[in-house]
């Protein structure tokens, strides 16, 4: 129903000068988000994690790759100078966790964004132009989708060797299909909307329609998906590590820390615990935030 919010008066532009300041619609979403306890917990955790990533060099007591001393092998948590202990190479676990956050999140976030970009581009092309273009894109996508994500990623990593760019490419290839479908159906919905027709009635070009009407209106759901994808990619990456396809040995990365600590599980359970916690905590908080975002964008879900 009509709910009239009074905006800061713009009557000022009577005289000719327009103070064209656009109040963000995001405000409303943020307001709803703030009411969601889970999402706020997720957000705070995430901010903390991101701070850790940014200030990794300051926080981490040691350089991640270098062996401290053989004597420190498997030092337990609480050892002086090594609050979380050392791993089987005598490396400081805290430092590796903190540096590992960088690799883990970098890959997850970038892959999430690139898959979104690739998917959105293809999806909006397919949706807006329809016809043959749509057919070709969607049929190839069907084929793409029939190869399970994990299998595809493994083949790509095996073929190109494991490195951060390759992981990003592989994960992008595994995840972009979701976006194509998502964006395409969004676009198909929107193309029939009267406001798109209105824009055409005003003489707008297809590019303008896609960029200024369609993309902004699918942005919400895309954003939610990008967020949630970050968490699945963190987990996905750890799965790859587990089967030996993630970053090569000395590079700190949560998944590979976890899987390499597994052989020491009986002697030093905390070695498994900490990276596992890091993964779970990150994925958990991203999920909380993503879910909260979705609720905030679709208030119907709440009542």
């Amino acid at each position: 129903m009509a709910k009239i919010n009074t905006r800061p008066s713009v009557d000022a532009f009577e005289g000719g000068d327009i103070n064209f300041k656009r109040p963000s619609q995001a405000k409303e979403i943020i307001r709803r988000l703030k009411k969601n306890k889970g999402a706020m917990v997720g957000l705070i955790l995430l901010i903390l994690i991101i701070l850790v990533v940014i200030f990794a060099d300051v926080i981490a007591p040691y350089d991640a790759g270098v062996i401290q001393v053989a004597e420190n092998k498997l030092a337990g948590p609480g050892t002086p100078g090594h609050p979380l202990g050392c791993d089987s190479y005598g490396r400081d676990v805290l430092s590796r966790l903190v540096h590992g956050a960088r690799n883990s999140l970098k890959v997850a976030i970038i892959a999430s964004i690139t898959s979104c970009l690739v998917g959105c581009t293809l999806g909006s092309i397919a949706g807006y132009f329809g016809g043959k273009v749509d057919q070709i894109i969607m049929r190839s996508l069907d084929i793409f989708m029939s190869i399970p994500d994990l299998l595809f990623t493994m083949v790509v990593v095996a073929a190109l060797g494991s490195s951060i760019p390759v992981l990003i490419i592989a994960m992008t290839l595994a995840y972009f299909t979701n976006y194509v479908r998502l964006v395409r159906s969004g676009v198909l919905n929107l193309v029939d909307q009267e406001y798109v027709e209105a824009a055409r009635a005003g003489g707008a070009s297809p590019a303008r329609i896609i960029l200024s009407h369609i993309i902004p209106n699918t942005l919400g759901i895309i954003l939610v998906n990008v967020t949630l994808n970050v968490s699945s990619l963190v987990i996905y990456q750890s799965t790859l590590s587990f089967i030996g396809l993630s970053l090569p040995a000395p590079a700190p990365e949560w998944g590979s820390m976890l899987s390499s600590a597994r052989v020491d599980m009986l002697r030093a359970p905390t070695l498994v615990l900490f990276p596992a916690l890091a993964i779970v905590l990150t994925a958990f908080s991203v999920n909380l935030l993503g879910d909260g975002l979705r609720d905030a964008m679709d208030p119907r879900l709440k009542s």
Partner: protein, 501 residues
Amino acid sequence: GCGKKSDGGDGTRTLVLRNTAGLSTNDPHATTNTHDYTVFENIYEGLYDLNEATGGYDLRLAEKVEANDDATEYTVTLKQGVKFHNGETMTADDVVFSYAHAQKDAHMGSYCRPLDHVEKVDDYTVKIVMNQPFSPIGHMLHKVKIMSKKGVEELGNDFGKVPNKVGTGPYMWDENNYNPLSSWSAVAFEDYYRGKAKIEKITWNVIADDTSAITALQNGELDYMVVPISYWEDIKASNKFNCVEKESNEVMLFCINVESKTHGELLRNDNIRLAMMYALDRDGINKLVCDGYGTPTYMYINPNYAAAAPAADSLKNPIPYNLQKAKELLAQEGYPDGIDIGEFNVAAGRNENFGVAVQAQLEAAGIKSTLVVSDYNVAGDRNVAQEYDICIAYDCGNYDFNNFEQQSSSAAIGLTNVLFNGPSGKFNDLSAKFDEWLKEGSSTADEAKRLEIYTEMYNAYYDTHTQVPLINLPSCVAYSKDLNAIAVPTDYRVYDWSWNS
């Protein structure tokens, strides 16, 4: 399903063993995988048998082996009264057939390369004709298994895929439980010519993952297991098992590629290689990777395992760990701030662990490198193709220095796989000399002479600082207290084992 569970003492208890992977075939000539051979050694037999516990070979299906003067023809008298599992009696025909069969298959064929052919002399005598004198012939006689000609031919194309009865070993495949992917059994062969085995039945379960294997061992689901070092303390402490730890014949090697396309110039600098030698702290590596159970070594073959190998003190200039000296050498060559020597190629798994440790030690001296980890086979191929700057190589199964000849053509890095006669010509002369030494060594029947040649070769080789031994890996075996086993790292012979009564 599984065999019956223990009631101890009466010998009907099934022995449960771990295999790290499924059987890829049961044709003993169609594979060289260790995990297949471990099983086969209990089912098939060759003319010789390897004695892993003491080193050297025992006669098995051969009664007597005599070489001619130039060691190109061996006359083998066969044991009589040996029965195949299918009831047939072993004769010279079967031996001729088996060698021909082995030669045909590329896997076993590589062990038989100097072999020309085997011919029947009479029913119980064959003549092995070689193309050249070949000192490691013992290994060939051990590796090539004798199979029933009739049995193999009857199975036709199915041979290798279904349980067969073509072996002579103390155990035969159990037709009731044969799932090569997950679990299979063998039962004692009643008519075994050395007498029926004391343990009635063996079941192998495929447990790829170490943690689940340890769990199974702890739960009594396994009777015998080679324990990964990281679990060793726990297993020992549990007091539930007989624990045997000893040196194995597996050695870890560190290699430098002087013919590297990218960093060759740097690596051809003798002082830089020497600096790397000084940077290697074998004790530290041992502690980090082997929990101190390994043995730091400069020997290419563990003398304790090999029947004929240079003694441990035969190396003239072993280079000890000296970080200071390493740094000095670098500075002397104009790199006081360190250098980058490129890619450090390692295979995933254990080699990778060594890689991590070595990389860090080199880095401590200012020598930076980038680890490139790939699958075992891929890494092997890269090594063969010389696509690396430095690498970790792994060598096992050398029971005789004689095997060098074989290793030289193997994909796993052996002595000569470090390219010598490359375009840079750095060690071309030595390389040529090497071939001579090897040829001479392998065709010399006189063992003392051979040892002398090898010792010389070995010192010359070490002094190039292109491939150096680091650690002799430990072998830790735990087995049930009910079991009388002879603990060996790989090729156990269950025939010699028994249950405690």
